[in-house]
Symmetry: C2
Subunit: 425 residues, 2 copies
């Protein structure tokens, strides 16, 4: 079967190949392996191209994307109508990105009453409650503290909600699953600030509160605050942007995005959860048996194939690399399996790079498309042994209107024209 | 001595403290540790802030920096006059960034004849010469290949040249050392494409050529091309920007920036180096004894303190965190030492995170500034045992006009007003 070099051993049905296909090794390889990609070249190089015949553009203070690329933008939606344009979401276009870092400009957003325009000189962070010394920090001094730097995904607990309906919506990967992004966050360990305030023995929780017009607030167990919570001031090298909580936000690796309070202005140390509006009216999970779960902090184990996915066109049969993202609220991905025949057979994908805990992990597996129908999907397992559920199993667990913590397997149907579409397995 | 919690053990002169100062542990801590940072708070939270009294801004397709932050921009210079505005450099503002990722918009640039505006549909990459099958790749098909993803610094071999003169220029950290940046690069292993072309036994080198108006070209040993060279299509998640080589550039981890050919259009496989214009008229190193070194590919071991550095003002004595970046062309940093007394005494800094090979490494060390004069500097050692030289040792090695591979120790003088300035030790 032409089209593959390296080790073309099939590892599962409908064309999935060994991870070593197309990778260098001790195997014999031949030219034309990706036949549609290469063409026998003339002996001589091509003529000088037009863009080599004139001086290029001058240097500029900032670089910009190519005019030949479509603008890299998020889809935006107001969730409760045009009267509250700041209560809504913006989805990261996952299918337009590669690697593991999300550019700050297209990090997902979920706001409850818009993006405040905060003067950092007037912003304060108060730590009070069950502490020996209530403390107030201004931004200038927070910037003097020791910083930690971590690549961490943040996922909205409502991510993937378009797939909670009865029929599979005709949307892109980002429009379904793009309420998750991954950045390098730099900031002060919250534990350090709490230590400075002096935690009283009766303290068991904190309540974190934002300075937005919704005064978004969530209760957080003290153990998490002391473990790995970050009072973040920087994202992907630069200072936070207003839409990410400027001048300061909370980062709670692996936990629900809405708890990672943006525009952080207050931390109250308490002896119990406060049952704030945002953890009673929202962000509870109604089960099929009528009970509701509260405080389901840890995000699930999840994966999604980004390349190819709807919007990408397979222009020819032959070799295609299947690539996607996996992440887990428990911190580490152990395994990602891929199917090309709608779940009849699965094969282990390669996990790439030295994945940081709580970061995105990229996986990949070679695939030889025969030009016929196929259904691609991925299934992740984390190091706690949690496995990404089927959609049927996920649906069976919850009441009909549940939209949070949807981490079911995502399938893309490939048709004979090479187009991809969201389908439910 | 007030101002420090944790373990305030001095580890070197003029206020350098244990890495554990201000970090949680089994030690008793008290309030007011960063006395100028915290203030006893009123029992009640503050009044509702003005930005909480009106709805915030609506969601938007892209996020933007805060209007309260100065624009994050690079200094730009044309090296050979106004008639060739595209032959010059743009420096990353290192002192304005934190963490290890450089946002793509402010990645450093060095161009020899400007930035071409390339239509990817018309761009080709040719691999020819000592191969069994000359191959031509279009961008659409390159995007189908397996991708690797690596966080890699790229440094111009001329980085830090302002410090090659007789007197220390009054410039910021970025204006001196900002011809280095670190991104996540995603692309196709060059080894894979060369295997597909079929390398002949007589092949020993490649020549990589760009599609800019300067037709920038460099000779590269085949061993490097097969080891870890990447034909990069993506940077920090998004497609390359024109100023970084759109649609495709070469990445050679740890090697001179100018060899990592942008707008890559041709790879000729050869039996020896080609002594191109760009490796004879430029990028050779004149020694003190009159000999010149050619093909000094591997960048040195280097570090620089970014916080504090010129442009940052120490507003009060007491605790300050000294933080900086280290990197090495050999791949891994083993150690960074910091001095606060101009090199009389040194202490080991903390190396943060799980540093990727060939990535930036952040280091930090607590410092208790007594309000008097101080001279801060850092000195890196890599896992090959290479040590960052003093400026005197570096100067002694080279002829007077040498400007490449300047990796000498950088010192910042702190005056009694808390201002910082570039000085030569």
């Amino acid at each position: 079967f032409a089209g593959v070099s390296g080790d073309p051993t099939p590892v599962a049905g409908n064309g999935l190949l060994s991870r070593r296909a197309f990778l260098r090794g001790g195997v014999a390889v031949g030219a034309g392996a990706l036949a549609t990609a290469v063409h026998a070249a003339d002996a001589a190089p091509r003529a000088v191209q037009p863009w080599q015949q004139v001086p290029g553009a001058a240097l500029a203070p900032t670089g910009a994307p190519s005019p030949f690329e479509p603008a890299l933008e998020r889809k935006v939606a107001s969730l409760f109508g045009a009267s509250t344009p700041g209560n809504g979401v913006a989805w990261t276009p996952l299918e337009r990105l590669h690697g593991t870092i999300t550019p700050s400009a297209v990090h997902f957003e979920r706001h409850h009453h818009g993006v405040p325009d905060i003067d950092p000189a007037r912003h304060r962070l108060l730590i009070h409650g069950l502490v020996r010394h209530a403390l107030r920090f201004d931004v200038e001094h927070l910037l003097r503290y020791p910083m930690v730097h971590r690549q961490v995904f943040i996922e909205c607990s409502g991510n993937s909600f378009p797939n909670a309906g009865a029929t599979a919506p005709d949307l892109t990967c980002g429009q379904i699953h793009g309420l998750v992004s991954c950045s390098e966050w730099s900031g002060v360990p919250l534990a350090l600030l709490l230590d400075e305030a002096g935690i009283k023995p009766s303290a068991k929780w904190i309540v974190a509160e934002g300075a937005d017009a919704a005064t978004m607030a969530r209760s957080i167990p003290l153990s998490k605050a002391l473990d790995d919570a970050i009072v973040a001031l920087w994202q992907n090298g630069e200072r936070l942007r207003p839409s990410q909580g400027y001048p300061v936000r909370l980062v709670l690796p692996g936990w629900e995005g809405n708890m990672q309070i943006k525009w952080l202005q207050r931390i109250a140390v308490t002896d119990g959860p406060q049952h704030t509006r945002d953890e009673t009216s929202h962000y509870t999970d109604l089960l099929a048996d009528g009970r509701a779960l509260q405080f389901t902090f840890v995000m699930g184990v999840k994966s999604v194939i980004t390349h190819p996915s709807p919007g990408w066109l397979l222009t020819a049969p032959g070799y295609h690399d299947v690539s996607g993202l996996a992440w887990s609220g428990s911190g580490r991905i152990a395994r990602v399996e891929v199917t090309a025949d709608g779940g009849a057979t699965w094969a282990d994908a390669e996990l790439q790079g030295t994945a940081a805990p709580f970061g995105f992990v990229r996986f990949r597996l070679p695939w030889r498309w025969d030009g016929g129908p196929a259904v691609l999907a991925s299934r992740a397992t984390d190091t706690d042994g949690r496995v990404q559920p089927t959609r049927a199993d996920w649906i069976a667990r919850y009441a009909p209107n549940q939209r949070y913590h949807l981490n079911a397997v995502q399938a893309w149907r490939v048709d004979e024209f090479g187009e991809l579409r969201n389908v439910f397995l």
